[in-house]
């Protein structure tokens, strides 16, 4: 009843919010209700999802897991300053066009041989003009490529805040109508609209026009229970005792006054590190020697190193 006019079939993984949750769980992604709802709505409303939140909370991973769960290709476009049309939408294959010119030069005498007048010769040639700017010479870049996937795809536009403002304007056509206009050819519309995920670390405020067109999802640091579940999924070898203490410690560290808070990706890295070191519990010396895995600034490490015992104690109490 709910599928929108586009007529595309709803994959089983997107049938309901619960289905999304279990599909993502199968791909190893533990989704909160907010995340699952956003993915569900993205499909049913045919709208891109804009994900904001601190670095390392699984924004990019969500797109990857959705693609994996739906068994569709993930087309990724990393944004950076100076990214433009020719790298995002399409480009003409200049080399091939040049080669074509050369061939044309050789053949042109032969072609216009039997023309009596200049007019006639020109008339003959005009027919070939369009070949220059045809699909054969078009090099699709991520956005166009996503439109062309017959079986649907997941398009990830990563770190949109790193791109220039003009680029946002360029995205509007793609995001609202799922089509790309190539002036020389015309409009190329997606057969199956891709599921679009945009991520942003909020280094700059995004334009209203873009925000209006997107569903907005904010992923924050998870609470202890959710974080433990995520780590368990990602690092199956971790023992319960270690997991509990490790997550409690990370949660305590996030309460400290430090510049760069550790995210889930750091927690996972740390869990892997501790397993490599054959640790099955946390002691202050071990924590101190591995702090550089979770903290990325010297001043932060110095700050936390002085409080390891207190944080471990606090975490312990909270853990119980």
């Amino acid at each position: 009843m709910t599928d929108m006019a586009t007529g595309a079939e709803t994959p089983a993984g997107l049938a309901s919010v619960e289905a999304v949750t279990s599909m993502l769980a199968k791909s190893g992604y533990i989704a909160t209700p907010e995340i699952a709802t956003a993915v569900y709505l993205a499909h049913h409303l045919r709208k891109p999802v804009l994900i904001e939140g601190p670095a390392g909370v699984g924004k990019t991973d969500l797109a990857r897991s959705v693609a994996q769960g739906l068994d569709q290709p993930l087309i990724r476009m990393q944004c950076y300053e100076g990214l433009d049309e020719s790298k995002a939408l399409y480009e003409w294959k200049y080399g091939k066009q040049l080669l074509y010119t050369q061939i044309l030069k050789d053949k042109i005498g032969h072609l216009v041989e039997d023309a009596d007048s200049l007019d006639e010769a020109l008339h003959k040639l005009t027919g070939f003009q369009d070949i220059f700017f045809s699909r054969d010479f078009l090099e699709p870049r991520p956005l166009l490529k996503a439109m062309e996937q017959a079986g649907g795809s997941v398009l990830l536009i990563d770190e949109i805040d790193k791109s220039d403002e003009e680029f946002e304007a360029l995205l509007l056509e793609v995001l609202s109508d799922y089509q790309v206009t190539v002036p020389e050819i015309g409009t190329i519309a997606a057969q199956v609209p891709p599921l679009v995920v945009l991520t942003s670390n909020a280094t700059r405020e995004l334009g209203d026009a873009l925000k209006r067109r997107c569903l907005h999802l904010h992923i924050d640091f998870p609470d202890a229970e959710l974080e433990a579940r995520i780590v368990r999924t990602r690092v199956p070898g971790v023992s319960d005792r270690l997991l509990e203490r490790l997550v409690a410690f990370i949660q305590a560290v996030r309460g400290e006054n430090i510049r760069k808070l550790p995210s889930i990706s750091e927690t996972i890295d740390w869990a892997r590190t501790l397993i490599l070191l054959h640790a099955d519990s946390l002691d202050p010396a071990l924590v101190r020697s591995t702090l550089n895995v979770i903290l990325k600034r010297q001043s932060d490490i110095a700050e936390v190193a002085g409080k390891v015992e207190a944080l471990l104690d606090g975490g312990d109490k909270a853990g119980r």
Binding site: T2, M4, V17, P33, E34, T37, A38, Y40, L41, H44, L45, K47, V49, L50, E52, E81, S86, Y94, G95, L98, D164, E165, R204, E205, D208, K211, R212, R213, C214, L215, H216, L217, H218
Partner: protein, 466 residues
């Protein structure tokens, strides 16, 4: 149900979350997809469609609970209405009696309206009471409430809509009978009246939370923005701080455009050749020279003597709130002499920092000439071609030498020199004020005594870097 959604969107808008028409349409489609049944799903779903920032999400979270808990009560009441005929209302002498409060006005011949109203007030049928309140509220236009002080007026209007006048007339009549029976009846009526009033007040207050609270806040902010810093009371400081932060954010967004201008007139030959080497040197890609703009660098020099201290507080508050945009900020304070105060301001809480600063630079006996001399001599290297020097002070130098030569040198060294003066222009140059002597060297000399003035001045400063 559609109306429920549009009214919720209206409530969101009045709470300060910008919801566009497209987003409203998306919300309607969202409801079609997820349905009304599961409140949790509805809440998160609407959150992704309607609230597009962390602040807006917070507004949505709060308002959703407020709005839909009331809405649920109202719809439960509405469901009670059609079933009215079939379901015998316990404790109600007759089914027909509910009619007058159901909004049909005076047509209640079937029963005694006063008796029905008192029954309602006794809370024997909460659903009916909720519905009556809802109707009276709609008729009285309670949704238009803007200020907390209006609630008395709306409560009275609602009571009138519910037919309180008849009850009051009966009350007067009962009192004038002057016998035990009359007194008892009057007491009962009085109880009913105050119960109804309590209900109506609760209703109006809930509506105020949804529709009025933010409008009132906006109004207060508007007034505050135009009030002179000198006239601010202690109680305003908190609100002012929030206001300054909001304005700074707005300013930062306005100036957040990429500081890069494509200079289309000039070809970058070197980069063009390199980019097209693959095409045998045929220039397919033309690369133009790009001119980069300076990042704003502000050196604030603030007079912290008693007369100006209040103004300095808000200037510094504003500048610090702009941190995201103005990364390069040096702050100097002076009174008797000058000191670099960037560090205490960054590390200490504002109040403590201010006290430490005043202790350090000494109070009383402001000497502008000496301050500029110290700035040039000790910190001359912080002022360069891309620096805006921002002086905040009244220019009252206690008749000391203004050292115009040093001031001129600072002005020459900097990109721009902006002087903000808390005194109105008519006082410039009177008494010991040297402002008119400093004036020729300033890029901009302006009167600045309210947050709005401050915003305008900083906007102007940042504009030079856009």
């Amino acid at each position: 149900m559609e109306r429920t959604l549009t009214r919720y969107i209206r409530a969101l808008r009045s709470a300060g979350a910008g919801v566009s028409t497209t987003e409203a349409m998306d919300a309607a489609r969202t409801v079609e997809v997820v349905g009304w049944e599961d409140r949790g799903v509805l809440k998160t779903a609407l959150g992704t469609v309607l609230a597009k920032s962390v602040e807006e999400k917070a507004i949505h979270e709060q308002l959703f609970e407020l709005y839909f808990s009331r809405e649920a009560a109202a719809s439960a009441a509405a469901e009670g209405k059609p079933g009215e005929g079939g379901e015998p209302d316990a404790g109600q002498p007759g089914g027909g009696e509910a009619e007058p409060q159901a909004g049909d006005g005076e047509g209640g011949e079937g029963g005694d309206p006063v008796e029905a109203l008192s029954a309602l007030a006794r809370g024997e049928n909460p659903g009916q009471l909720a519905m009556a309140l809802e109707r009276a509220g709609a008729a009285a236009g309670v949704d238009e409430i803007r200020f907390a002080t209006q609630s008395g007026y709306f409560v009275r209007k609602m009571m009138e809509q519910m037919g309180i006048e008849a009850l009051e007339a009966r009350l007067m009549e009962a009192l004038s009978r002057r016998n035990a029976e009359g007194d008892a009846e009057a007491e009962a009526l009085m109880g009913a009246r105050s119960a109804l009033q309590k209900q109506a007040r609760a209703f109006v207050e809930a509506r105020f939370e949804i529709y009025g609270r933010s409008a009132q806040d906006a109004f207060m902010n508007e007034i505050l923005a135009e009030r002179s810093f000198g006239a601010l009371g202690r109680s305003d400081t908190e609100r002012m701080r929030a206001l300054v932060e909001r304005m700074a954010k707005r300013l930062a967004v306005r100036h957040a455009r990429r500081r890069k201008v494509r200079d289309r007139g000039r070809l970058d030959v070197r980069r063009t050749l390199r980019a097209n080497a693959g095409h045998d040197g045929v220039p397919f890609d033309i690369i133009w020279k790009i001119k980069r703009k300076d990042r704003p660098k502000i050196v604030a020099v603030c007079d912290v003597s008693g007369s100006v201290a209040q103004y300095v507080r808000f200037l510094l508050l504003f500048l610090h709130a702009l941190k995201e945009k103005v990364t390069d900020l040096e702050t100097f304070a002076f009174s008797a002499h000058l000191a670099d105060v960037s560090r205490p301001l960054e590390t200490l809480p504002f109040e403590t920092a201010m006290r430490a600063i005043v202790d350090e630079v000494g109070s009383g006996g402001t000497d502008y000439g000496a301050a500029f001399l110290e700035l040039d001599r000790d910190f001359g290297e912080v002022i360069d071609r891309r620096t805006t020097v921002l002086v905040l002070g009244d220019g009252r130098s206690n008749y000391s030498n203004p050292r115009l030569d040093v001031f001129k040198q600072i002005a020459d060294q900097a990109k721009r020199l902006v002087w903000l003066c808390p005194e109105p222009a008519t006082n410039w140059g009177s008494g010991d004020s040297c402002l008119l002597e400093y004036r020729p060297f300033c890029t901009l000399l302006t009167h600045c005594s309210t947050v709005t003035d401050l915003e305008r001045a900083l906007d102007e400063i940042l504009m030079a870097y856009d």
